[in-house]
Symmetry: C2
Subunit: 147 residues, 2 copies
């Protein structure tokens, strides 16, 4: 089959959506969407990080990050403090509830990985990882040329 007949982009997106279903299934009881889950984990590993930095790290627009941060604050997983240097920016920290939730996040990530790569040899894991990195590089290159 010719490579153009199989929409690879769609296949990757569909697989990603399936993985998000898996995450939602495990996170629903905590009032956490899969976007918020990742951001909470990022804040836990980088206490004091700014929304802007999260936006850059995740390659997601600021408005989307702002919405997720608001939900995390509303659900008492994180809190924010005005940056002393840059008065327009906020530094984000985990609340006690957020900190207590981190082991559960780790447990879900381990379960997710075990499920996603079930039956894979280490070579196959490395191969899939490598092929996906090449896809990302291809798209980055496209945007680089469009600049």
């Amino acid at each position: 089959m010719n490579k153009f007949e199989k929409p690879m982009g769609k296949k990757i997106c569909d697989t990603g959506r399936n993985i998000k279903r898996f995450l939602s299934y495990h996170l629903d009881e905590y009032s956490l969407g899969d976007g918020q889950f990742g951001i909470l984990y990022e804040i836990a590993g980088n206490e004091g990080i700014s929304q802007e930095q999260i936006s850059k790290n995740r390659n997601v627009d600021k408005a989307t990050i702002a919405k997720a941060v608001k939900k995390l604050i509303d659900n008492d997983y994180i809190y924010r403090v005005k940056d002393k240097q840059d008065k327009r920016a906020y530094c984000l920290y985990c609340t006690e509830k957020g900190i207590k939730f981190i082991p559960e996040i780790k447990r879900i990530i381990i379960l997710e990985n075990a499920t996603v790569t079930k039956g894979f040899t280490q070579e196959e894991v490395d191969l899939l990882s490598h092929l996906l990195e090449r896809v990302t590089t291809n798209i980055d290159d496209f945007f680089e040329k469009e600049k």
Copy 2:
């Protein structure tokens, strides 16, 4: 590196998000989100399909499909007609504007595939495709067992 140290789920989701960025870049001028784009293409290939069937085919909840369908109707890409058999259901069809847009969708899909798989041999395309299918099967199996 141990396979649990690299979150494969995150890598697949991130790659999918990157591909969606590519789609958004090409679709913004048409007031089409990447979700609507796929649904429009599906209706074009299955004139008269119901929202429920699209929801099943794409494994996406009905509310999300309903939102995307509404946007497609508002932007005059599709229209809906009450099902003669099932009065609660609607059959979806492309408008003239929708039909005229299909070649552009095909062009974007071809460009997307060429970009995503740039530098890939046919064997690598097949391999990536096969590994992603195994990931999907793994997640389906997980949900099957949870039932």
